[in-house]
């Protein structure tokens, strides 16, 4: 199962960092890591929803370069980490031309630029323990395209391909890289951006997704595509990119803009 990057399967991380850990999939990662007895640092914009007795909280707005630059030294000193999950992400859906330029810009900053800056800095400063894991949360849209969320899709492609480019330099430092490609999850984020009337029960439970992604990260897999339906979609998107993007247009875009 595991495409080995030199990790023992089922390894337990001692110290972890999760960005965007206050809500959604990030919060599910945090719950799971705490249950495993990890020390967890959470980076998020707002501590609401965080039990600061249980985790170290670092406040940072990833949309702001100043805020991130101020935070970077603290992130380094809070290490060294056994596991870092760059998970924070935002979205805006609708017609590309109707979404404000500021929103498009912010999506690129939060979803792509900030995790690239954090990853490069942590790798450059030796903020990892030997044989640690650096995880990136991209999206199923990397395989399918996302009409109705074009800037979001672009940001997640940036992240996935940057992670791939960092693999060799990370490996030289003993750090394994895993990129996760979750599909629609039953989170408030997905709720806000799904077309009206979409069936929430078909979206994956974030706790289940977090368990699967963590297992893949800790066993050194290069990619993680949680859930059978997500997996099937990803493979179809690889084999028939045009057909699958056309299907996404029918399933999402047309329902979003009508």
């Amino acid at each position: 199962m595991s495409a080995g990057q030199g990790h023992a399967a089922g390894r337990k991380p001692g110290r972890a960092l999760v960005t965007g850990g206050a809500h959604g999939l990030g919060a599910a990662f945090v719950r799971r890591l705490l249950a495993e007895g990890c020390e967890v640092t959470v980076l998020d914009k707002d501590p609401a929803g965080i039990d600061t007795a249980q985790v170290d909280f670092i406040r940072c707005d990833l949309a702001s370069r100043e805020s991130l630059d101020r935070t970077l030294p603290d992130l380094v000193t809070a290490g060294p980490y056994d596991l870092v999950i760059l998970n924070a992400g935002i979205n805006a859906t609708g017609r590309f031309e109707d979404i404000s330029a500021e929103a498009h810009l912010e999506i690129l900053r939060v979803n792509a630029e900030a995790p690239m800056v954090i990853a490069s800095r942590l790798l450059g400063t030796g903020a990892f323990t030997p044989s640690a894991t650096l995880g990136f949360v991209s999206s199923l849209s990397h395989f399918t395209g996302y009409p109705g969320g074009a800037s979001y899709a672009a940001s997640k492609d940036v992240l996935a391909v940057h992670a791939k480019g960092l693999r060799a330099v990370a490996a030289r430092k003993g750090v394994g890289i895993t990129v996760a490609f979750p599909g629609p999850l039953r989170t408030a984020h997905a709720e806000r951006h799904a077309p009206k009337g979409a069936d929430a029960s078909r979206r994956m439970d974030p706790d289940l997704a977090a368990i699967q992604i963590l297992a893949d990260m800790l066993s050194g897999r290069k990619t993680s595509v949680p859930g059978r339906a997500t997996h099937a979609f990803a493979i179809a998107g690889r084999l028939m990119p045009r057909t699958v993007t056309a299907l996404m247009r029918r399933l999402i875009y047309r329902r979003l803009v009508c």
């Binding site: 990397h142 395209g145 009409p147 899709a153 672009a154 391909v161 693999r167």
Partner: protein, 243 residues
């Protein structure tokens, strides 16, 4: 500056990053039959003698994506254009970090110039392109699948690839969206990036040949299109459609 004669079939074409390399090569190729407006970071004075005949020029530094998009829009209006047949979003920078890890400045500049500015331009130019059912072309790179030498550059090109894929679907029937991925070409880009390809450079394509392949790929409106030796050897620089 609107010096070019209007003839039937002449298209209004905007090319960003038109001051050197591939952008300038494709501009020279198209200047004979079409009306051109170029943009770049260089000043009007630096570009005075270098522009193809009749072409206009706008100074727009894409390191500030929002401002440069406004400047570009104003420049198009001042040139007297109220529609566009083609926009070729070609401006780009890259860095080859010594230890394989880009610093924050390099990451930010690469994303801003290559991706964020192109994204905001796409949005701002949409009404002009829609008026003439035009074509929006992003210039990507074969590196869009990932690179350990230029990690942030490759990532920015992956973003363009993904943006084109989704936008092409959204805008189908109104504006054609495409992404072209050139292979390594003998322009100044590698020197500017601080990367010496050494003897590999002998294997790079000539800018004129890549520009010819770009022109026919633009006319075809297909996407994505890879512009490499394979296409070149199968006649990609000589055969195919013309704009």
């Amino acid at each position: 500056m609107t010096g070019s004669v209007t003839r039937s079939g002449a298209r209004r074409i905007l090319i960003t990053g038109g001051t050197s390399g591939l952008g300038l090569a494709v501009a020279k190729k198209l200047a004979r039959h079409h009306k051109l407006l170029l943009s770049g970071r260089k000043s009007q004075i630096e570009m005075a003698g270098a522009l193809p005949r009749g072409a206009g020029y706008i100074v727009a530094d894409q390191r500030d994506p929002e401002r440069s998009t406004e400047v570009l829009l104003r420049g198009i209006r001042d040139f007297g254009w109220d529609s566009l047949d083609n926009a070729v979003l070609n401006a780009g920078v890259g860095f080859a970090p010594a230890d394989g890890l880009d610093g924050p400045e390099a990451i930010r500049e690469t994303l801003d110039v290559n991706l964020v500015a192109a994204m905001l331009q796409a949005q701002a130019l949409f009404p002009l392109l829609a008026k003439s059912r035009g074509t929006l072309t992003f210039i990507g790179s074969v590196a869009h699948t990932g690179s350990a030498t230029f990690p942030a550059y490759a990532a920015s090109k992956a973003g363009l690839h993904g943006l084109a894929r989704s936008l092409r679907s959204e805008w189908g029937g109104r504006v054609s969206v495409q992404v072209l991925h050139p292979g390594p070409t003998k322009t100044d880009m590698h020197a500017k990036a601080g990367h010496d390809p050494g003897r590999m450079r002998a294997l790079f394509l000539e800018p004129g040949d890549v520009a010819a392949m770009m022109a026919s790929a633009i006319a075809s409106r297909r996407s994505p299109v890879t512009l490499s030796w394979l296409r070149y050897l199968s006649g990609g620089a000589y055969l195919g459609r013309r704009l």
